[in-house]
Structure formats: C-alpha cells, structure tokens
C-alpha cells in the first residue's frame, strides 16, 4: 500500500440487528489523498451507511477500514470523529448556539485556548465568504439556507481535518444556491486538498464534484468506480447507463470548466467614455457592440450602434445587460446561460467579478469537438492497454 492512499475499505459489511440481508455487503475501495470520491446511487442503497462506517457513526459488522493507515475500529470513536470533518444536509447547525460557537465546537473539545478559537472562527468565516463581524454572533435561523450550509462546512473544517465526510451537503438548497455552493466548495478544495467522501443521489452533482465516482447498487455493491469522463463515455452495465440517464453527451459539458477553453475577446470601454468614442471604436474593428466596464473592469452592458442617442454624454445605463459566468463554472452552465440570455454569448469573470473574456457558441462547439476527439483517442488507448477491466481503471483527473 502506498502513502497515496488515505482511506481504504476492505470487504466492509454491515448487517443491522434483526435483519437477515446485509445493508452493505463486502465493499472494498481505496480513496487517495486529496481526491473527492462521490458515492452515488438510488436511495436506500446503503451509500450513507457506507460513509458513516468510516467515522464509525455506524459500526461495521465485518471487514476493515483504514484511515491514514490506522484501523478505525481500534480507535476510540469519539476521538476518531474529532479528526474527521462531517457535514450533513442543511449544515446540521445547533439552533441555540451562535455561528461562532457552532464553528468553535471541535477546537474547544480539542482543548484549544479561547483566543486561538476566536481567530480560527474568523479565519474560517472569511474562507467560506461570510464577513465575520456581521455573521459571528448570529443564530443559525438568522441565516439563509446557503449561508447555513457554508457555516456547516466551516464547522467541519475547524480543526483542519485531513478527511471530510459530506452527506448530501447541498441537497436542501435551491438549484441556484446549490450551483454557487458547489462552485465555491470546489474553489475551496483546490486550496485545501482534503480527502473527501461525498454522498449524493444526484448524478449531475456527482459529475461536477467528483474526482472519481462510485456508482453503488443494492447493498452498496460497487457497480462502477471511475472518473466522471470514463463513467459517461463507458458505463459498465445497463443499470449504470440508466442511472446516468439520457443526455450523457450533454452531461459531458459538466466535465469541462470555462477556464479550460479558449475564450474570445470583447471590445472593452469604460462607462465614462463618450458615444463618439464608441462609434470610432466600432468602425475600427468588426464587432457589433462594445462591452462597458466600470473602474474595476467589471462588465456592465453591451452597447451597440443602435443604443447610442444624440444627447448622451457617457455610456451609463444604455445597452443590453450582460450575462456573466464564473471562470470556474462548467461549459454546461455557460450553455445554459447562453440559451437564456438574449445575446448568444456570456462574459466570463474571475472571483472578484472582473472581466476575463467572452464565450460564445462557436467556442463551445470547438471545445465539444476537442472533447469528442480526446475521448475517441482514450478509448482506443484503454482497449489496447487493458481489455479486461476498463471499469476499474483508475486515472487522475484535471
């Protein structure tokens, strides 16, 4: 076994008392340091049970579970859980404790000094994008669902555990918030490089979040354990195929992020410029419109010739509103935005909302054909290399 392995399950089973059939039967799986492994499957398939055995919220009835080389059944359950972050739906915050108390619970149990806990709480609130001064003393019910979820993540990160377990963490939020939380969490993970086991029943979420995805069947039997690319390109059997659902080709757009495709460029102009300057600029290039930006290069509106009136001093408030996407959003998000916006292109912005580039339908088509080409190449490679078990092939991503 290499150092690279963080969690390993060896023939793990769980049979509940009074039940003949095991809830989890003979699951074996290795999870590498720094990857997000998503357990996905229909409800009642035992994915949550499997996850909870890792921090022994549920005691396994057979097999071995190693976390960082240590057999978890040999450790004290409570001590073990303090070293593993745990996030549940809606954050699982204690309603009678302030945000700061909630986040500080684990450090306090670990015996940290009060000053250190306070510092850590503020640091974590910053990390998850909540202003400490404003949110530290709030009660959970004074937060929106998305904010509660962020605090839940902050609480799990409090003692900087190397491993995190997340049980449908974004399940109870509306689609828009979920999308944002997912993007934020991926950004966080790039920095933190935790080893994460993530349970969900939403296959699209699995594709978006997972470094590798384990599709589970009855009794947590692993039907396929692979990268999202491989899963979409080559489902191991019919059940997996059904679970992936229709539109696998479209779902592949979830695999590429906008920052990995070549963006186009727009003609930028400050809002304080005059309409004549716009006309001059449009004459000198083949664009139909210029993109107005504010002092921080944040995109504002598309301004074309038709939007310019004779009595305007500057470009404030005229033109069509822009549709923006984060550079970390997927091509799927971009396509979606494009179809709903009225100008057929989206403006890509960085974390601070500054202009990065423009993506239009041609950019997307180019990216899609590249992906198709790459998949074809890879399939050829896999079949030549190991005709036996393509389903178990382990390959890094990104």
């Amino acid at each position: 076994m290499t150092d690279d392995v963080m969690i390993s399950l060896e023939n793990v089973s769980k049979t509940y008392r009074g039940q003949k059939a095991p809830a989890v039967e003979n699951v074996s799986m290795t999870i590498h340091r720094g990857e997000i492994v998503v357990l996905v499957g229909p409800s009642g398939c035992g994915k949550t049970t499997t996850m909870k055995m890792i921090n022994r919220l549920i005691e396994p009835s057979g097999g071995r579970i190693l976390v960082d080389g240590e057999d978890v059944t040999a450790l004290d359950g409570t001590q073990l859980r303090r070293r593993i972050g745990y996030v549940i739906q809606q954050g699982g915050l204690f309603p009678h404790m302030s945000v700061a108390t909630n986040i500080g619970l684990v450090p306090k149990m670990l015996g940290w000094k009060r000053g250190r806990i306070e510092e850590r709480v503020d640091e974590l609130l910053h990390l998850v994008g909540l202003e400490p001064g404003q949110y530290r003393d709030r009660l959970p019910r004074q937060l929106s669902g998305g904010q509660q979820q962020r605090v839940g993540v902050a609480r799990a990160l409090a003692a900087d555990p190397p491993v995190m377990l997340m049980d449908e963490p974004f399940g109870a939020t509306d689609p828009l918030t979920r999308d944002r939380l997912q993007n934020e969490f991926l950004r966080l993970q790039e920095k933190l490089q935790k080893t994460i086991v993530f349970v969900t029943h939403d296959f699209d979420e699995a594709i978006k979040m997972g470094t590798r995805i384990a599709v589970l069947g009855e009794r947590s039997r692993i039907r396929q354990f692979d990268t999202p690319e491989q899963l979409l390109a080559a489902p191991a059997d019919e059940t997996v195929g059904q679970f992936i659902g229709a539109g696998a080709a479209l779902k592949r757009l979830n695999l590429r992020r906008i920052d990995s495709v070549e963006c186009g460029d727009a003609e930028l102009m400050g809002v304080e410029e005059s309409p004549t300057a716009v006309l001059r600029r449009l004459d000198s290039c083949d664009a139909d419109a210029v993109l107005t930006v504010d002092g921080q290069r944040r995109p504002l509106r598309w301004v074309g010739v038709r939007d310019l009136g004779p009595d305007q001093a500057d470009l404030r408030g005229i033109g069509l509103p822009v549709t923006v996407v984060e550079s970390r959003a997927t091509l799927h998000d971009a396509l979606d935005q494009m179809l709903t916006s009225n100008c057929g292109s989206v403006v890509v912005v960085d974390d601070d909302g500054r202009y990065c580039g423009v993506v239009n339908i041609e950019c997307l088509m180019r990216a899609i054909s590249e992906m198709r080409e790459a998949a074809r190449e890879r399939d050829r490679g896999v079949i030549e290399a190991s005709p036996g078990t393509p389903a178990q092939a382990v390959r890094g991503r990104r």
Partner: protein, 262 residues
C-alpha cells in the same frame, strides 16, 4: 395530557435584552393584578363579616401564615424530589440502551396519577403511618407523571439529525446530552414541571386529612364546622398559591427559553 405542549408565548429571540424584558412584562403582568384583586376582595369580605370564635381561631395572620408555610413546604419538597427523580429517569429512559423501558415506566407513572389522590394518601398512611413523609410520598406519586413524560417527549422531539451531527463532529454522548438535547428540551420539560407544581399545590390540600396541615386544614375545618368564610379563605388561598406558582413557572420558562428557537 400536557405532554408536548410548550407553555408560554413565543419569546422574541433576536431582540436585544431590553425588548425581551418588556415582552416579559407585557405577557405576564395580567395575572398578578387579577390575583391581587381576588385576594383583596376576599380579605375585605372576611373583614366586613362578623366572625365567631371558631372563625377567629382559623382566620388570623399567625395561623394563616403557618398553614401557608406548611403548604409551601409540602409543595417544595415534592417539587424538588419530583424534578430530580423524574428528569433523571426521563434522561435515562431516552438513552439508547434503556429506551425500550420508556413505555413501561410511563404506564407505571400513569398508575400513580390515575389513582384517586385521597385514596392513595389513605392507603399510604395505613402502610407508612400518618405524617409529613407519607404526604410527600403521595404527592410525588401524583406529580411524577407530567415531568417524566415531558422529559421523555422533550428529549425525543429534538431533531435526530442534530444528535447525529453532534456525534458526527466528535461530541461524547454526555456532551450531546448536555449541550444539545437538554437545552433544546428545556421548554417542554419546564412545561411539565409547571403542570406538576400546580397539581401538587392542589393535591397538597388533601394532606390535611392525614393530619399534616397546610391550607387544606382551612377547607376541612370549613366543611366540618360549616364555616363558609373559613372554607372560602382556604380555597382562595390555595387557588392563589397554585396560580402564583404557575405564573412564576411561566416567567422562568420564558427566561430559560433557548435562544434561536421559536
């Protein structure tokens, strides 16, 4: 059954302390006024009617204070023992290892409450003899159910996912109980204690039948010797005491209402 009902209006939690205080005043100011009026009315009525020897022997400050003191003593001892016993037992009966015992325990407590109080006291005094201890034991048997039941219900109604979350982040079972389950069960448990207090004040009047004293003595005297003024004074004082304790219970449970719940 009072189990599961949270007495007292919703406290405004987000509000700063001063507004919370004003809310308390608004919600709880009616009862003292009504009680004061009733007591004053009774006093003026007794004062204005001519009293004979028997009445004068009962209706003087010394006797009334002694009887009231005795009544409070009975109620207080009962309340302390009941809270310790029933809350303790309720906590034990919600632990995973003992949860299966809970139905049996509540039906046992039910028997205590279903038995007619006077019969229970008489039976106990045949067995244990007449005296303060016997009266307290009878009262305890009578008052234990609401506290026990509300403790069990109060703890069980705490969102299971919060208990799981507590365990999941590495709290010990004791920490989960003390920091999560009990604080969130406080309103329901307090409602049970309030009910038990009111019951105990009422039933404690029966202690007079086994010669333990208390405000019941006035009622018994009033009935036996057909002195309406004595009977009414005893009844009014008992009712007032019960209502005062209930009112205090309401104030306390508003003050102890965990923040963040409504």
């Amino acid at each position: 059954m009072s189990a599961g009902t949270v007495a007292g209006g919703p406290a405004s939690i987000a509000a700063p302390p001063r507004r919370r205080g004003r809310g308390l005043l608004r919600r709880h100011s009616a009862m003292p006024v009504v009680l004061a009026a009733a007591l004053l009315g009774t006093y003026l009525w007794v004062r204005s009617s001519p009293l004979d020897d028997i009445e004068r022997r009962s209706l003087n400050a010394d006797t009334l204070l002694r009887l009231l003191g005795r009544h409070l003593e009975l109620t207080a001892v009962t309340a302390v023992v009941v809270v310790v016993l029933a809350v303790g037992a309720g906590i034990l009966l919600t632990r995973p290892a003992l949860r299966w015992l809970a139905p049996a325990a509540t039906s046992l407590a039910n028997i205590g409450q279903a038995t007619p109080a006077i019969g229970l006291l008489v039976l106990l005094s045949i067995w244990l003899g007449i005296g303060f201890t016997t009266a307290v034991i009878g009262l305890i048997a009578y008052a234990v159910l609401p506290v026990l039941q509300n403790t069990i219900v109060g703890i069980n109604q705490v969102d299971r996912s919060l208990v799981q979350a507590g365990k999941g982040i590495g709290m010990t079972p004791l920490a989960v109980l003390v920091r999560v389950e009990l604080p969130l069960a406080v309103p329901v448990i307090l409602a049970g204690i309030r009910t038990a207090l009111v019951l105990a004040v009422g039933v404690a009047t029966l202690a007079a039948f086994i010669d333990v004293g208390g405000l019941g003595e006035l009622i018994v005297t009033g009935i036996k010797l057909q002195r309406t003024s004595v009977l009414v004074t005893g009844a009014v004082l008992t009712a007032a005491l019960a209502l005062v304790l209930d009112w205090l219970g309401g104030v306390v449970s508003d003050l102890l209402q965990p923040r963040g719940l409504d």
